[in-house]
């Protein structure tokens, strides 16, 4: 008798779950909440959650709540694939979000393609498949993007350097970081910048000094790193320990603002497509208030990418109407304009062929005596 009651209860629950699910917009997220590079992705996912909570508290989208189903992939491709399959086939999400390391992209893309569910990269580097001509299913809000970032960085170095530039490169041993540094090395030759060495550093490493020793020995007067923050900053610190005192430029990940203040290094530049919180835009105060209210473990300064991802999800679902399905969401995303309210240099615009953005905006910051200083204001790059 007891068994029958239990079975009946389970069956009722099983029937009730899809019914409940149909009443909300379901968005699946596979994210590197743990694992070596998680410091870049976990704050973004927390920000995404905070943003969606705020939307829900204000009545949701089209009168319906948004439910994020977040799965940790530990930055492992196999886990990311399993997460995506589960989110698409069991949870029936209308949109997938990847907030993880680039090595997880291929299996997540494959699962999304099989089920024809749109995929948004939010906080992980934008893959080239979102550049024109874009893959119909893939979209990206992340501030950093291969090739464009190196172009902007080398343009800045060329303009800022007072003499000939001998440049060293530092990458993490992951495909995108290595590929970007290879691209930057080739590009630097065309820009009359002499590439002298590239160090590819496996994650994680007990001591960065052996890599820095080789890099320093090559005699660069600039070093450029485009890698997860841990590689960028530890390479710099190892070079400084070895007495190398020249200029170092890196991508301004989420941690950049607090790290510039920690290091207080006048020759450390970060290239950024997000405005730092010291700019004190009203949106920055909104994020700070939301993070503080929720008691987030992560500083508000690390939440820009996730917040922008949330803006994109809200806009896409709003346009898709109710009830939404993956096809409607994808169609809406193909013509979306997201007002970033000062978090970026301008709006994110997606078109049928361009799921990245039509214009890119870059700022450069560094530590200047007692504060972070803006050394280059928004510089615009057209994406064609």
């Amino acid at each position: 008798m007891l068994n029958r009651i239990l079975l009946g209860g389970l069956a009722a629950c099983a029937m009730a779950l899809p019914a409940a699910a149909q009443d909300v917009y379901l968005v699946g997220v596979t994210a590197a909440l743990t694992g070596p590079p998680s410091s870049t992705y976990a704050p973004a996912v927390d920000a995404l959650r905070l943003y969606i909570d705020r939307v829900n508290a204000a009545g949701g989208v089209n009168g319906k709540q948004i439910k994020l189903v977040i799965e940790d992939d530990g930055a492992q491709p196999s886990k990311a694939a399993a997460n995506t399959k589960k989110l698409i086939t069991q949870d029936n999400v209308v949109l997938m979000v990847n907030a993880s390391l680039s090595s997880t992209y291929a299996p997540v893309i494959a699962e999304s393609k099989n089920a024809n569910v749109p995929l948004l990269f939010a906080s992980g580097v934008c893959p080239q498949s979102v550049y024109p001509p874009a893959n119909p299913l893939q979209f990206c809000t992340t501030g950093y993007a291969s090739q464009f970032d190196s172009r902007a960085t080398l343009d800045f170095v060329k303009a800022a350097a007072k003499g000939p530039v001998k440049m060293g490169f530092s990458a993490m041993a992951i495909p995108l970081s290595r590929g970007e540094m290879d691209y930057a090395m080739e590009l630097s030759k065309k820009m009359d910048i002499e590439p002298v060495d590239q160090e590819v550093i496996p994650p994680p490493t007990a001591d960065y000094t052996p890599f820095a020793t080789k890099l320093k020995d090559a005699g660069p007067n600039w070093v450029y790193s485009w890698a997860p923050w841990v590689t960028q900053v530890r390479t710099l610190e190892a070079l400084r320990k070895l007495g190398w005192q020249d200029d170092y430029i890196a991508w301004g990940h989420l941690e950049a603002e607090s790290e510039l203040a920690r290091l207080k290094d006048g020759k450390f530049y970060v290239v950024n497509s997000n405005a730092l919180f010291q700019e004190k835009e009203p949106i920055h105060q909104d994020i700070e208030a939301a993070a503080s209210k929720a008691g987030s473990k992560f500083p508000a300064q690390t939440m820009t990418e996730g917040w922008i991802g949330g803006m994109a999800i809200e806009a896409a679902l709003k346009g898709a109407g109710w009830p939404a399905d993956p096809a409607k969401v994808r169609a809406e995303m193909e013509n979306l304009k997201i007002d970033t309210k000062g978090l970026r240099g301008g709006p994110i615009e997606w078109t049928k062929d361009n799921h990245f953005r039509t214009r890119l905006y870059y700022r450069v910051y560094k530590w200047d005596g007692d504060k972070i200083a803006r050394v280059q204001d928004w510089k615009v790059y057209e994406v064609k």
Partner: protein, 302 residues
């Protein structure tokens, strides 16, 4: 592009310093593996996580003893010692008499648990215990222009002190003698009135302590992330190369692995650094499976 010509003198000296620092990291971690294996024949696969926990404990004690870095460090070290004992009392003690494989799998589960706890308490963010303690990390110029950071030098000194202290303790100390006896023949040791649980708890405490030393000093030198256990795993081949039941072996094995790693990074390809420890291990397993200083009869257990 591989460079086979000898580097200039300053670089050669810097490479030597790099080998000593990296070797010290591996040696300090490896002696924790050896301690537990020697006494209880258990491979502690949670050693990397316990090492990381010690480093994270500094963050907790730094806020507790704000402005007193020595007190904060001492408290973190004592907590690590206590943690090791508690791990044995509440977890590994239940494994006594069970298959060794079951005990090893328990340590795997323990590692997963610690990683989860660390993530829940301190999040995935990169942390800087040196900043929390309010201490800096200046670098010093050594002989011939080579350089070393303060905390790297402290790590080398700690490794020497730990190995020296372990040698004295195991050779001349009463509990050290009991540990050796329990490691050689636990049945006979128990029959002679040695408290085996006390000996094992002490081994776990000391092992966690040495791991914590490594974790804390590495974190003070270059920061702390939840990926630190992987470094613990990279030190495991050093222990195996030297012979899993030999402290001298762990020291020599660590220097061999570190030497190969640093030299291959400089002269061949930095990417090799990730696989070097395991290449050295495979070479050793082919030539001398019980390790440089290991006991031949331990082979089947390894």
């Amino acid at each position: 592009m591989p460079r086979f010509q000898l580097a200039p003198r300053t670089i050669r000296l810097q490479l030597a310093v790099n080998i000593i620092v990296l070797g010290s990291i591996y040696a300090l971690i490896a002696c924790g593996y050896v301690l537990i294996y020697r006494v209880s024949r258990v491979l502690n696969l949670a050693h990397g996580e316990l090492m990381m926990l010690g480093a994270y404990l500094v963050l907790a004690t730094a806020s507790l003893f704000n402005g007193h870095p020595v007190m904060a460090l001492a408290a973190a070290i004592l907590l690590s010692l206590l943690t090791g004992g508690l791990v044995y009392i509440f977890l590994m003690r239940k494994m006594t008499g069970e298959m060794v494989l079951a005990a090893i799998l328990t340590t795997v589960a323990l590692g997963i648990l610690i990683r989860g706890v660390v993530f829940l308490i301190w999040s995935a963010q990169q942390q800087y215990p040196a900043q929390a303690l309010g201490v800096s990390n200046p670098s010093f110029v050594l002989f011939g222009g080579a350089r070393i950071s303060f905390w790297s030098a402290a790590l080398v000194a700690t490794t020497i002190a730990v190995y020296g202290a372990l040698f004295i303790f195991l050779r001349f100390g009463r509990w050290g003698t009991r540990m050796r006896a329990a490691g050689q023949n636990p049945l006979l040791a128990a029959q002679r009135g040695i408290n085996l649980h006390g000996v094992y708890a002490l081994a776990w405490s000391l092992s966690t302590l040495t791991g914590a030393f490594a974790g804390i000093l590495m974190a003070l030198d270059s920061g702390l992330t939840s990926s630190m256990p992987v470094i613990g795993l990279k030190a495991f081949p050093a222990a195996l190369v030297g012979g899993l039941d030999s402290f001298a072996g762990a020291l020599v094995g660590a220097l061999i692995v570190a030497g190969a790693e640093v030299l291959l990074i400089y002269y061949v390809d930095p990417l090799l650094s990730d696989v070097v420890p395991f290449l050295v291990l495979i070479a050793m397993l082919i030539v001398r499976p019980w390790g440089l200083f290991g006991t031949r009869e331990e082979l089947d257990r390894v």
